[in-house]
């Protein structure tokens, strides 16, 4: 009897969790936390002139391959945009710094390296293009007035 109750509870929890996760998965959210801008040195790769798509991946990540393909296509389509893929396991420092909890996580950086948007889970191509549009249009306040602060 207890077993049947546990079964029903587990399946209900599974349906609720599945629906919530499906809704939130890959959906871009604006970055709320103020952070120091990301530099090319941080990533070990050159940033895009207008925007950068930073993808965190691991080997044990099913949707990372499809995400790589989508971001690669978008970066090839829009001039001045680069796609940088980070091996999360090799760069746990960045994983902690940017509060990355899952892979793939995609950070959309504007031209000055500020994180504009993030998405965890495989994003849809249209969402990536929209987020990129917002990042490219953003006035790059930082590049125009260089700061001495670290």
């Amino acid at each position: 009897m207890t077993g049947i109750a546990v079964l029903v509870a587990t399946l209900v929890a599974g349906v609720v969790a599945g629906v919530v996760m499906r809704h939130r998965n890959g959906r871009p959210r604006s970055e709320r936390k103020e952070r120091a801008p990301v530099t090319g040195d941080d990533l070990g790769a050159e940033l895009g002139e207008r925007a950068t798509l930073v993808q965190f991946s691991t080997a044990f990540c099913q949707p990372c391959r499809a995400t790589r393909r989508i971001l690669g296509e978008v970066a090839a389509m829009v001039p001045g945009v680069r796609h940088v893929e980070i091996d999360a396991e090799a760069r746990l420092d960045l994983v902690r710094r940017f509060d990355v909890l899952r892979t793939p996580t995609v950070l959309v950086l504007d031209g000055s390296g500020d994180i504009v948007t993030r998405a965890s889970g495989q994003p849809r191509k249209a969402d990536v293009i929209a987020a990129l549009g917002a990042a490219v249009d953003r006035p790059s306040h930082r590049s125009s007035q260089p700061s001495d602060k670290v």
């Binding site: 587990t10 044990f60 391959r65 902690r96």
Partner: protein, 136 residues
Amino acid sequence: MHIDPRGPRFGAAITTLLLAAVLVTGSPWLLAVQTIVFSLGAFHSSPYVAVYRRYVRPRLGPPRELEDPRPPRFAQGVGLVFATVGLIGFAAGITPLALGATAVALLAAFLNAAFGFCLGCEMYLMIRRLQPGRTQ
């Protein structure tokens, strides 16, 4: 070599049914069967996926996208851990442990079968984050 992602998902559906049967019947033997399947999946290849390849795959079209075999293999390892804990619960007569661990494994299998989410894979980075970091 990349794999047809529908194979592991088919396996997750069978796993869901089997683990549901464990909860309904309270049979440690059924859980033992699933534990063996998890170990085969983690260290060799899953018999459920073999069934998929032999009987289901020929009736379907080619997959839209191929996938890395490592994530589902890792997830089978996570399933193995929970199934083993469940077996220990049955053996020691600790029913909440037996049912709880079986329920966690069932939840993961169900999310994979019904929604295509790999809970075991999602846990991977969380686990790695807890370990001391190397920097390049």
